[in-house]
Symmetry: C2
Subunit: 417 residues, 2 copies
C-alpha cells in the first residue's frame, strides 16, 4: 500500500525553531499549544493561515480541524473581520478609555445572548470564568462553587488542570460533581449547605480524552432549580462552545438560561477578547468587584468582535459548522465501518471528538491523526476539534480522503475489531 | 482672568455613549479606565491616538500624560511597530501554535533582561504576576508570598485592590510588609518561617494616591538576601515600570537582580502582551505549572513586541522619557513655587506623580487636573503618569502652559500656602 507509506513532512525549520525555543522558553513551549502533547510529526510553529487552512513554518499546508483551538470561527483572514479590525487599528486600539466599539459590541452582545442584560469584557477565557465566579460571590456573599470533575475552566490557580504551583486554599471552596449526573449535583449542592455561591457548568462535557456529552435537559434544569432555591448563580462556561452550538447561548438547546456566561475564543474570530454576560439581578454585584486589564478595552478586538457577530448572524454560522461537522462525522463513521475499526464520535458535530475503541493509550488515535497530518489534515487525537465557516463540503471531502488512508493504516497496524 | 474661565469641553458624544453603556455594562464602565474615578469633565470614550496625543469622541485633543496607563511607550501609531504588526497580521495571528515571532521575541527579551534565562508570554499583567507566584510555589514547594501593603499586582482574587467577590482563602498565604521598610520585610519573612515561596516587590512604590518611592538599595538587597537564605524567589513586578526605568530591568538601578520578573503594559507598545522572565534555577518549575490562554501565542503582539524592543533600544527610550519627565517636573516645580502652591513630585521622572500639599481629598488635585484637561492636557490627579518617546520638548512646554493656568486656578480657589 504505497499510499499509506507517505513520507514524513518536511520539518527543518520547525526543528530549528524548537532548538532555539528550548534555550529561552521552559520546555520550548508550554500550555495547550505545546506540540509535545501531540503525536510525533506534528509541527510546533506556524507561518500563516487562510480560511480553514494553516501552513507550518516548513510550508506544509493543512486543512485545519482545530481552528486555533476554537478562535478561528469564520476562517483566517475573514475579509469583513480583518477590515473592521484594520479600520479601528488606524484610529486607535489601547487608549485612555474604551472606544465607541465598546458600547456597540456590548449592545450587540447583550441583544444576542438570550439570558443577558449586561456584559463585561476581558482578554482570556480564564479571565471570564474567574470574573463570573467573583460576581457570583459578590452577589451572594457566599463562597462555595460547584464544578464538574475534570472540567476545564481555565488555568488560574483555582482551575488549572495541573495542580502545581498552587495551594490547597485556592480550591478550598470548590465542590465537585459529575457532569450530567443529577444525583451528584444534588449531593454537591447539599454539601455546600447555605454557602452556595454558584454552580459552574460547561456548555457541554468536553473533558480531554473522554467521550463528550451534550447536556442532559434534566441535568441543566436541576442545576437551574438548585441555584434558584439557594439564591446562587448558574454560570455557563461558553468559552469552548460559544457561537458554535446556538446563536443565543448554548443552553438554549436545552431550554435553560444561566445567570452568568463566560465567553472567549470564537467571539472575535481570533482577536483576543473575552466576555462575561449576566442578568440584571447580578448587575450591582458586577459593579462592586474590581477586575481590569491593561488591554481589556482595546478597540481593535471589539471591532473584530462586532464584525464577527455580524458575519455569524448573517451567515448562520451555527448551522454551517453543524452541517460541515455532520458531513465529516458521517464520512468518518462510514470509513470506520468500512475498515472494520471501532470509533466513538461524541459531542456536537461542530465540535467533534473521535476516539478509537480499545485505545486507552490513544495509540490508534495517534497513528490515525499522524497519518491524516502527513496527508494534509490537522486533527487532534484526544481533544475536541472545531469546524469553521470557511470549511466547505469540498474541504470536508478532501479531508475524508486523508482519513480513509489513515483508517487503513490503523487497521493494518492494529487489525480490525 | 478670562484665561482661567475656559469653557467646558464639548461632551455630547461622550454623554450619549455613557447613557448607552449604562444600559449594557455594569456601572457603564468598570476597572482602571472608569472615568467615574476622575474629576468631572474627563471623557470616558476615545476616538483615536497619534504620537503622544489622544482625541476623545467629541473631537477634543489632549497632550496625553497617561499613555493608556502605560502601554503607549513609543507613541500611538509608531510606524515601525504598526508596520511589524501589520506584516504579521497579513500572515496570521492566532494559529495552532506560535509563529517564529515567539522564538525571536523570547530570544530578544531574554537577552535584554539582565537576570533572565527564559521567558513565558501571556496577555495581562495579572497573568504575569500570577504565573510568577505559581512558578515560585512550584519551585519551592512552599506557600507564603510576601507583598507590600497596598501594592497593586493585578486584579485576580489573590491581588485585586477591592476585596469583593473573593474569599479569605484567596489570600491565606499572603504576608504583608511595608515597601522600603527593611524591618517590616524581615518581620514578614520571619512570619513565613520555613514556608516562604516568594517576595513580590514592585519596581518602585507606586500605590495610588500616596507619594511614590524609588526602591532603597538596602531594601532591595535585603529582599534579595532573605530570598537567598530561604531558597525563595524574588519576584519583581515590572508591569508598571518596565521599559521606562532601566533597559535591563528596573532594579538594575539599585544593583539587585530578581529571580522572576512580571512584565506587560509597555512591552508591545499597546498590543496586548505580558511576560514572565526567570532564572535557570526556576526553569524546571516553569515547565511543571500549567497556565495558558487562547491568545497568548498570537503572533501580532509578538511582532509588535519585537519592534518595540528594537525601537526602545535604538532610541534609548529610557533616557528620553526620563528627560521629558524631568523637564515636566522642573516646570511644574517652578510653577508651584511661582503660584505659592505646595506640591510633592515623587517617583521616577518618567512615571511622575503630582500631589498637592494639604489635599487629603484631592480637591486641589482635581481642580488642577480638570483645568489642565480643559486646556488640552490629560493628567491624572492621583495615579502616576507616563511619558513616551513621542513626547517632545515642545509638547512638554505646551503642557506647561496649561498647567500654569491650572496652578493659577488652584491658587485662586484654595489660596497660596
Amino acid at each position: 500500500m504505497p499510499s499509506v507509506a507517505s513520507p514524513a513532512l518536511a520539518n527543518h525549520q520547525d526543528a530549528q525553531l524548537r532548538q532555539r525555543a528550548a534555550r529561552v522558553v521552559p520546555g520550548g513551549m508550554t500550555g495547550h499549544l505545546n506540540a509535545a502533547a501531540l503525536p510525533a510529526g506534528y509541527p510546533q510553529f506556524f507561518e500563516r493561515g487562510q480560511g480553514c487552512r494553516v501552513w507550518d513554518v516548513d510550508g506544509n499546508a493543512y486543512i485545519d480541524f482545530m481552528c486555533s483551538w476554537g478562535p478561528n470561527l469564520l476562517g483566517h483572514h475573514h475579509p469583513e473581520v480583518d477590515a473592521a479590525a484594520a479600520r479601528q487599528q488606524a484610529l486607535g486600539d489601547c487608549l485612555n478609555g474604551p472606544t465607541p466599539r465598546f458600547v456597540e459590541l456590548a449592545e450587540r452582545f447583550v441583544a444576542r445572548s438570550a439570558h443577558a442584560d449586561w456584559v463585561l469584557f476581558q482578554k482570556n477565557g480564564t479571565d471570564a470564568t474567574t470574573v463570573g465566579v467573583m460576581v457570583a460571590r459578590a452577589a451572594t456573599g457566599k463562597r462555595k462553587v460547584l464544578v464538574a470533575t475534570k472540567a476545564y475552566h481555565g488555568a488560574d490557580p483555582w482551575c488549572t488542570p495541573v495542580p502545581n504551583g498552587i495551594t490547597a486554599e485556592d480550591r478550598a471552596h470548590l465542590i465537585y460533581y459529575t457532569y450530567n449526573d443529577v444525583a451528584s449535583l444534588e449531593a454537591a449542592a447539599a454539601a455546600a449547605g447555605d454557602d452556595l455561591a454558584a454552580i459552574v457548568c460547561s456548555a457541554f462535557k468536553h473533558d480531554i480524552g473522554v467521550d463528550q456529552e451534550l447536556p442532559r435537559p434534566e441535568f441543566a434544569r436541576r442545576a437551574r432549580a438548585l441555584c434558584d432555591k439557594a439564591g446562587a448563580a448558574l454560570i455557563l462556561d461558553e468559552v469552548r462552545a460559544g457561537y458554535r452550538m446556538h446563536a443565543g447561548g448554548s443552553w438554549e438547546t436545552v431550554g435553560v438560561r444561566p445567570d452568568l456566561s463566560a465567553w472567549s475564543k470564537s467571539i472575535a474570530n481570533g482577536y483576543a477578547l473575552a466576555a462575561v454576560t449576566g442578568v440584571d439581578a447580578l448587575r450591582d454585584a458586577a459593579t462592586r468587584i474590581y477586575t481590569t486589564g491593561s488591554f481589556w478595552s482595546g478597540g481593535v478586538a471589539m471591532a473584530a468582535g462586532l464584525a464577527t457577530l455580524e458575519v455569524a448572524e448573517s451567515t448562520d454560522v451555527v448551522a454551517h459548522v453543524h452541517r460541515m461537522g455532520q458531513r465529516f462525522r458521517d464520512g468518518i463513521a462510514a470509513q470506520a465501518t468500512s475498515h472494520g475499526v471501532g470509533v466513538r464520535q461524541t459531542g456536537p458535530a461542530a465540535l467533534p471528538l473521535i476516539l478509537f475503541d480499545n485505545d486507552p493509550g490513544v495509540d490508534r488515535g495517534a497513528v490515525f491523526a499522524a497519518e491524516a497530518l502527513r496527508r494534509g489534515v490537522y486533527l487532534h487525537p484526544r481533544h475536541n476539534m472545531f469546524l469553521s465557516l470557511a470549511h466547505t463540503e469540498q474541504d470536508i471531502d478532501l479531508a475524508l480522503q486523508a482519513t480513509d488512508a489513515a483508517f487503513a493504516l490503523v487497521a493494518q497496524r492494529f487489525g480490525s475489531h
